[in-house]
Each structure stands twice: as C-alpha cells, then as structure tokens.
Subunit: 156 residues, 2 copies
DNA sequence: TGACACATAGTGTTATAACACTTAATTTAC
DNA sequence: GTAAATTAAGTGTTATAACACTATGTGTCA
C-alpha cells in the first residue's frame, strides 16, 4: 500500500543499512514537501526561502533582525542573504535600516506589504500542511517529530 | 536534552500545528544532513546531486539509462539533467552514447573512473550515515522510515 | 503514405546559489 | 589612545538551477 522509497526511485538492490535508508527517506521526503510548497507559492511570486524569511521577520516584529541573525534562524542554509534581501527589498516585502547604535548592523523588518502577503497565504499554507500530514495520527506526528529531533541532536 | 526545532531556529511562538511542526522538522533535518554530506564530498570534487547520479548509474550497470529515466530516479528534483551530465561527462565520470534503436534516446553509463570514485567514497559515506544515525536504535530507525513512507504515500 | 501528435534531448537565457574577497565599525589588548 | 583582532555587511565572479523554447526522431491514424 505505502510504496517504499526503493520502489519510488526504482532501485533494484536493497538499501545497505537502515541508517542509509533513513537518510535517503528524510532527504526524499523533504524534497517532495518543498517542491509542493514552492508550487503553491509560485503564483504569489515568492520562493520557499523568501517565505521563510518573511515568517521569521513577522515573528520578530515589532523589531527587525540583522543579516546574520536572520541567516542563523533560517530553515535551510543560505550563504548569500544579502542579495536575497536585496531582491525582497526590491519587491517591497522588507525594509532595511542601518542600526544607529552599532553601525555595522543593518536591521531588516517586514513591511506592511510583506505582512499582507503572509496574511493572504495563511490559508493555503495551512491547507498545504494538512494535505500532506492529515492522514497521520497526532501520535504518529509526535513520534515523527521526536525522532527527527533526536536525529538532529547529534548533528548540529 | 534534545533541543527541539523551535529552540534551534530561535522561534518565540509555538508551532501552529503538529502538521506544520512535522513539515518544518523534515525540511530542517534534510537540510542539515545534505549540508553535512556535501561537505564530506567537496574534497572529492562532486556534489550530492552528482553522487546521486553516480549511484543510480552504478546500480543500473551493465546498461546505461536515458536522461529522463535518470531524472525520474533522482532523490531530488533536477530540471536540467542535460547540463548536469555535461559537467559529469567533462569530468569523465560518465559517458553518453546515442541509442541505435531509438535515435531519440541517449544512454548514459558510469565510467571506470566514476566507479573508482564511488569506491573511494564508500567508507566515508557509510561513516557519514552511521555518524548521523547510530544513536537511534534499529526500532527507532524502522519507525522513522515507516512514518516517512507514510507521509510520502499521499504526496506523489 | 503523409500529416499530425508525441516523446526525447538539447539550447538560450535569466535568476539564484556559492564562495572567496573587501570594506567598515567595533572591541580588545597593550 | 592606538594597533590589532574581531565582527558585520556587502561585492565580484563563477557555477548551477530554473524555465521556456527548439530540433529531431518515432508512433499513429485517416
């Protein structure tokens, strides 16, 4: 019933270890989840990375965050946050201002337009999460989350 | 003891649903696993995507695969397999030959050099998987794999 | 058998990611 | 108080990803 990964990617030989199978399963699942999420966002003109930035900045309101703080909070590694923010600034989704106390820092805040976009997306995002996970029980979801937390425990 | 995702990405508010928390956990974990894997591969001059291609082609030996078949078997979406293979051909890791029966097809095979590279990498890859997952029990790994299979069941 | 639909690989082009390097402000140590 | 180290943001450049489009070979069907 549930097609396993081996079938999915048409692999002929069995996985060499459970550890390998676990890694491939995590990566494959994330890829499909992200692709689906990107497709949902596309008509709205932003990427999953940009969406992630907007969510972080909305959570930080009413203050902004500097570039490195933002980078450290992102879900996926992003080595060029400066130009990511350039593009988002061009789209008027965020605004930057140099910090007056420590002039090395540039604080970025979400704009009203960015907030409006997140608001428009809220329903679709919730639907997306539900669509992908509603067939698991709450207990299964908790177990999945716990196991992934445990994986990351030795990872970062 | 195990830091949960909220702490990790310094999120102040709780997740809005278990479904959302599950999605973010999957994506975050995959990102860290992939980054770590990429770092391990870097000294050998290939990316995780290229490694994936080599593994698929080694599994297909002694025959090659056409571009679309390869694309469909990849772990993550890759819209430009042609030029990915161009680069790998330049590096002499794969070789291409037009199919004589159906001249639309171009079959790609792994070269001896590609096989040698995989062989060199085998230990490091196994170590990498172990390092990331050895602190979970076999039962936990099986549960994790089952749950991820279940997630993907409604996804593709 | 000839026109048309379809499947396959590849190309042109733009956008984004990645990485090493630079510049500027602040902190630290003497 | 000044030089050196540190921390921050940004820049130059190359590599890769993404997407729409083209060219060519194969199958289909009137």
């Amino acid at each position: 019933m549930t097609p396993d990964l081996r079938e999915d990617i048409r692999q002929r030989k069995p996985f060499t270890s459970l550890e390998q199978e676990a890694q491939l399963n995590v990566v494959r699942t994330a890829s499909l989840l992200t692709d689906s999420f990107e497709q949902m966002l596309k008509p709205h003109g932003i990427t999953a990375t940009q969406y992630n930035v907007l969510r972080i900045l909305r959570g930080a309101e009413p203050v902004g965050l500097c570039r490195n703080e933002l980078r450290d909070r992102m879900l996926t590694r992003m080595p060029d946050v400066t130009r990511l923010l350039d593009r988002m600034e061009d789209a008027k989704l965020v605004a930057r201002a140099r910090d007056s106390e420590d002039r090395r820092l540039v604080s970025t805040r979400i704009t009203p337009r960015g907030l409006r976009l997140l608001d428009e997306l809220d329903d679709a995002v919730t639907q997306e999460h539900m669509r992908r996970f509603h067939h698991l029980t709450k207990a299964q979801l908790k177990t999945l989350i716990d196991l992934l937390n445990a994986v990351r425990d030795r990872l970062e």
